[in-house]
């Protein structure tokens, strides 16, 4: 029985659990489904290109050259904010290492005492007092931690995110502590850009119509019609969304807390994070410190893979439980192969096992649940509204007036309410769109212990970490 030990250095992002995709060697971090993000990009770039092509030459000459200049500045700001929001770590909390998880389990057992056989264990909740209010911290079965206050688990990205606001498919990422201000700046600047383009489209059409007539104007600049259409529908949704988030910021609340109604109602706890002063709240959210990422994506770590000729399938020893469920197995190598050949053949299946984890899902079950969600979630969106962006603002507005979800399956709401669905058995929501059903099936996963008890960790789960340049 010959054993071959191969050690190679990998970046930590390759081994991170969760359903994120990484690009540029760990510098860029996004959710798995990026289709809607590409649509957002296309709409913004497309509409602005039409504006620069059709309206700007005329307006620069007949009105002022500052019109296109300001439009360009605003356009670059919007794109920069969008990319910042989409590509940055929203504030993901790394999962507990085995020792920490065991320590927490021990504390829970000590606190709960002996549970009689047949009886369900009490829910894992820790009460903390924050600014003289009692706040309950829930235990996350996936990440094996007690979630810090305001953190929530995003079922789409499968991560706990600090100060979780919502998962936004338009930016292809969660919105959390680290990227909330970029998200807000994006919606604000996009509102301004939309209003700007809409206004100058009208001005341009009016000015040209005076000379040449309305129909001739439209014939000469067909792009105007398309722009006006896109801007008109975008206006309502994006401006509404900006207004909603301005309201949330002034109260120092997150969308998640607003949906769950954490701080509303007389019997409930008052928001312990609010400074009771509008300006102070805005100041803290928008001008507070910029938190660095605690997820070390670009650090290096050793990855040992041992291979024995006798066994048919042996997954890499240091891989996550997630990647161990991939179907690829190490090939059976006959004794006549040299160690070099063995190394090459091991390297090939290893590569196969990593890319599916990032793109498709690490287990058939996850793949099955994620793809229907994508299909069902996206088709209602495309069919029912003339502009996808309508849904962005309609969802918060509906929630504010707390009417049942009569709007179609708009995705921001689905993702936003994925965590509240653990607690509220709100029946109106269950009936509406098909995709929440997938979300619901994922939430019970969180309630019940997902993985086998901690007594069976991987053989050498704790990797020796070489400190690389942290991002």
């Amino acid at each position: 029985m010959s054993a071959v030990m191969i050690t190679r250095k990998v970046r930590k992002w390759e081994k991170l659990p969760g359903k994120n995709t990484f690009c540029c060697d760990g510098r860029v971090m996004m959710a798995r489904q990026k289709g809607v993000f590409y649509l957002t990009l296309f709409l913004i770039v497309g509409t602005c290109s039409l504006f620069f092509a059709f309206e700007c030459p005329y307006l620069a000459v007949h009105l002022s050259p500052s019109v296109p200049v300001f439009a360009i500045v605003l356009f670059f700001f919007v794109i920069a904010m969008l990319l910042r929001t989409s590509f940055s770590d929203p504030g993901v909390l790394p999962r507990a290492l085995p020792e920490e998880a065991t320590f927490i389990e021990m504390e829970i057992e000590a606190a709960n005492g002996n549970v009689p056989a047949g009886q369900r264990a009490p829910p894992r909740i820790r009460n903390v007092q924050i600014n003289n209010q009692i706040v309950k911290l829930k235990y996350c079965y996936t990440c094996k931690i007690f979630r810090p206050p305001r953190a929530s688990h995003c079922s789409i990205c499968d991560n706990c995110v600090d100060r979780f606001d919502h998962h936004c498919p338009w930016v292809g990422n969660c919105v959390g502590k680290r990227n909330y201000r970029y998200f807000y700046m994006f919606t604000l600047s996009l509102s301004l850009l939309t209003i700007y383009i809409f206004t100058f489209d009208i001005v341009h059409v009016v000015m040209r119509s005076v000379d040449k007539g309305f129909l001739n104007t439209l014939k000469e600049t067909p792009g105007t019609v398309l722009e006006v259409l896109v801007c008109f529908f975008t206006l309502w949704s994006v401006v509404g969304l900006t207004g909603f988030h301005t309201y949330l910021i002034s109260l120092n609340q997150t969308t998640n807390e607003d949906i769950k109604g954490s701080w509303s109602g007389k019997n409930r706890v008052q928001n312990p994070y609010s400074h009771k002063n509008c300006f102070k709240n805005c100041f803290e959210v928008l001008c507070g410190p910029t938190f660095p990422s605690v997820l070390d994506r670009r650090g290096l770590m050793q990855e040992d893979s041992s291979f024995s000729a006798a066994s048919a399938s042996l997954p890499p020893s240091r891989s996550n439980p997630v990647s161990q469920t991939t179907k690829t197995t190490a090939p059976l190598i006959r004794n006549e192969h040299t160690p070099d050949e063995a190394k090459r053949s091991i390297a090939a299946p290893e590569e196969k096992s990593y890319s599916p984890r990032e793109e498709n899902g690490s287990s058939p079950r996850e793949e099955k649940s994620s793809s229907p969600r994508e299909e069902k979630g996206s088709s209602p969106r495309e069919e029912k509204s003339s502009s996808p962006r309508e849904e962005k603002s309609s969802s918060p507005r509906e929630e504010k007036s707390s009417s049942p979800r009569e709007e179609k399956g708009s995705s921001p709401r689905e993702e936003k309410s994925s965590s509240p669905r653990e607690e509220k058995s709100s029946s109106p929501r269950e009936e509406k769109s098909s995709s929440p059903r997938e979300e619901k099936s994922s939430s019970p996963r969180e309630e019940t212990p997902k993985v086998p008890p901690l007594a069976s960790p991987e053989p050498d789960a704790e990797v020796s970490v070489t400190k690389g340049p942290a991002h």
């Binding site: 700001f77 790394p94 320590f103 924050i130 507070g288 997820l295």
Partner: protein
């Protein structure tokens, strides 16, 4: 308490890990990063109470400095916003500077205070700012290997 001089390198490479103790976050003042000053009972015979409390207090003061919302953070935020946050690609934020100071402080504390007692602090940043992890190594001086038994099976995996 019999003590043998443990060098930090020696500790990491040779000594065997007995258990890990976790100092949890203190949320009484909100979501600001702050660790509990409560002394873990597992460390009763390994280190003086005041030393650990002093370390935790100093760490807390560093985090307060990093997360302070005042003139400097406001200026940094405004400047960054004006440049569409591109300036963050070149410049280090104040929080990152303080985290570097904390890392240096923890290393210094490990060398001077904790390693000689067979303990090792892990920077909270490596644990997602959730806990302050204290690794307890075998105390060669006393000869005994484990104060708390149930952790040793998980803890004895060689580092």
């Amino acid at each position: 308490m019999a003590r043998e001089f443990h060098n930090l390198q020696e500790l990491r490479h040779n000594a065997s890990l007995v258990t890990k103790v976790f100092v949890q976050r203190d949320y009484t003042e909100g979501t600001v990063c702050r660790f509990q000053a409560k002394f873990p009972s597992e460390l009763d015979n390994r280190i003086e109470r005041t030393l650990l409390e002093e370390t935790v207090k100093t760490l807390n003061s560093y985090y307060v400095e990093a997360e302070k919302i005042g003139g400097q953070s406001y200026l940094e935020g405004c400047l960054a916003c004006a440049t569409a946050y591109i300036v963050f690609l070149c410049m280090e934020t104040r929080y990152e500077k303080v985290l570097k100071k904390i890392s240096g402080y923890i290393h210094e504390q490990n060398e001077k205070i904790y390693a000689p007692r067979g303990l090792l602090l892990t920077d909270p940043v490596e644990r997602g700012m959730r806990v302050l992890e204290i690794s307890v190594f075998e105390d060669r001086g006393s000869g005994s290997s484990s104060p708390s038994s149930s952790m040793s099976s998980a803890g004895s995996s060689a580092r």
